[in-house]
């Protein structure tokens, strides 16, 4: 039993206790369980949003990609800034509409806006597929963190099961309050650790950040620029655009918006969040510091870069502290994904799809049954293994961004489009993505003679363009039933 393992166990038990205590003195209606009774102020909304934006994707994925890819990894810094810029205007409008109409789940927005239960079900299916991928990232990251930080004494598979059970347990009992309580501790810890590691490791190994870059450049001169093919400048800019557009279509991000108590609390958060993204730069530096000190990591192993360097540098108790913090970076977003997915299944798949007369109590019961089942599906995908954390995230983003045209067109001062247009757009975008995935054919195969900048455009963006085109065509030429409701207009 090493010191690191004891610390990680204490973190897990402490997080579980903190989350379970969050239930005290609260009567758990569906709205209280899923949205905290819509009473979250600026600070709590910030902690939840920051908790979701700072997950194992950033903890392991960002350092892994800076270690293995170099410049292309910086798309992660850029898309956050653009996403919050867009959110500054979009999210207060979403909050006003959701609050006026007492919307609870992610898909409620589409079902209500377009007055179509069937559209709510379709959006739910897309959202659930995206959320399985996103939960897979958190559980995979959790497995890596616990296994690495415990020096291999706990197998990744065991820690994935423990993590899933802990998440399911406290969300069932405390709902969003459990995640919010853990987020307070986690955000403070991750902020301190990321800044410390980003400053200390280059100084310890190279004497500073500039000498570190000089040392890397001396051994790998091609590492400092974009490659000519593949992850080149065309890929970089198209992926920034795709992920920025899709950022608030991560269903759990919208749940935090619903939970806010005012539009100004939402807006204040969009002003603060770009500053929080800067923490990611420190983790990029950790990845760079690992290039010459932990060489040879390939494929999905690159996600181990941070822990490889940390274990070579610090005593086990400190590795345990970093591991425990890493566990929290998986638990907060992972539990929010579970909460959002189970609410979508209860509200939109069960009630809208099969039982329109179901009461809130019945919906809550279905959501609680669906919660562990959804976690099981994600565990299955984690156990299958394969891709790196960042590549799974880009897939999820490509899929969820297909919901953007129908969201944006419905938020216009004079809403444009119909439920048929929304169906057509989502179907066209999903078809392009699905066909490419199943056939393995992308732009390089379809346009072999096109310039490299065109061939490397992220396929999710191509799917999004087809989606928007289908939406506009059907909205203009197709059947014209009731248009979407105005922002802020109750039913």
């Amino acid at each position: 039993m090493n010191a690191a393992l004891v610390l990680i166990a204490l973190f897990v038990v402490g997080a579980l206790a903190l989350a379970l205590l969050a239930r005290r003195g609260r009567k758990m209606s569906l709205e209280q369980w899923a949205l905290g009774g819509r009473g979250m102020g600026t600070v709590m909304v910030f902690l939840l949003m920051a908790g979701e934006s700072f997950s194992t994707f950033t903890f392991l994925g960002a350092s892994g990609w800076s270690y293995s890819k170099g410049a292309p990894a910086f798309y992660i810094l850029a898309y956050g800034g653009l996403a919050y810029l867009m959110a500054f205007w979009m999210l207060p409008a979403v909050w006003r509409y959701a609050t006026a109409n007492k919307l609870v789940s992610f898909s409620d927005f589409w079902a209500h806006k377009y007055n179509s239960r069937a559209l709510g079900v379709v959006v739910s299916v897309v959202a659930l597929a995206g959320m399985v991928a996103l939960l897979t990232i958190q559980l995979r990251g959790l497995g890596i963190i616990v296994s690495e930080a415990s020096y291999g004494s706990i197998a990744p598979q065991v820690s994935i099961w423990i993590g899933a059970v802990v998440m399911v347990s406290y969300i069932l009992v405390s709902g969003i309050h459990g995640s919010a309580n853990i987020a307070i501790v986690k955000d403070l810890l991750i902020l301190g650790l990321a800044v410390f590691l980003g400053i200390y490791l280059p100084w310890h190994y190279y004497g500073g950040v500039t000498p570190m870059f000089e040392a890397i450049h001396a051994q790998r001169p091609d590492f400092f620029s974009f490659p000519k093919e593949g992850l080149n400048l065309g890929w970089y800019n198209s992926t920034i655009l795709l992920t920025a557009l899709g950022y608030y279509l991560y269903p759990f991000n919208l749940t935090s918006v619903y939970a806010a108590k005012s539009a100004s609390a939402v807006r204040r958060n969009t002003i603060l969040m770009p500053l929080y993204q800067i923490v990611i730069a420190f983790l990029f530096i950790v990845g760079f510091a690992a290039i010459l000190k932990v060489p040879g990591l390939q494929g999905a192993e690159v996600d181990l870069a941070l822990f490889g360097l940390v274990k070579a540098t610090f005593d086990p108790w400190f590795v345990g502290l970093i591991g425990g913090t890493g566990v929290l970076t998986a638990l907060v977003p992972g539990s929010m994904i579970l909460l959002t997915a189970s609410t979508v299944i209860g509200r939109n798949v069960y009630k809208e799809g099969f039982a329109p007369q179901a009461s809130d109590r019945q919906v809550a019961r279905v959501a609680r049954v669906a919660l562990p089942l959804f976690a099981l599906v994600a565990v299955y995908f984690v156990m299958r293994g394969g891709s790196t954390i960042v590549s799974i995230a880009i897939f999820a983003s490509s899929l969820l961004t297909q919901l953007l045209p129908s969201l944006l067109f419905s938020l216009m001062p004079r809403p444009f489009g119909t439920r048929h247009a929304a169906f057509a757009g989502i179907a066209a975008g999903a078809a392009v993505l699905g066909a490419s995935m199943l056939s393995g054919v992308g732009l390089p195969q379809l346009l072999p003679h096109a310039p490299a900048a065109v061939k490397s455009i992220n396929l999710g963006l191509v799917a999004l363009a087809c989606n928007a085109l289908a939406f506009v065509l059907v909205a203009t030429l197709g059947p014209r039933p009731a248009t979407p409701r105005f922002a802020g207009q109750p039913a």
Binding site: L77, A78, Y79, F88
Partner: protein, 55 residues
């Protein structure tokens, strides 16, 4: 002054091109700070407009 919001958009998309012709990291971090400042300025100016409308 909403036009200020166009500056980070131009900056984030031009950063990769500029670096191709450590800079990219510093550029993106600087623009994250500036994005927050620009949003703060727009938010304040819109609140002042709202107050003037009320009066």
């Amino acid at each position: 002054i909403r036009w200020l919001a166009a500056l980070p958009v131009i900056a984030f998309f031009s950063g990769g091109w500029l670096s191709g012709h450590p800079f990219l990291m510093a550029w993106n971090v600087s623009w994250l700070v500036l994005t927050s400042l620009i949003l703060l300025v727009i938010d304040r100016s819109e609140r002042i407009e709202d107050d003037e409308d009320l009066q």
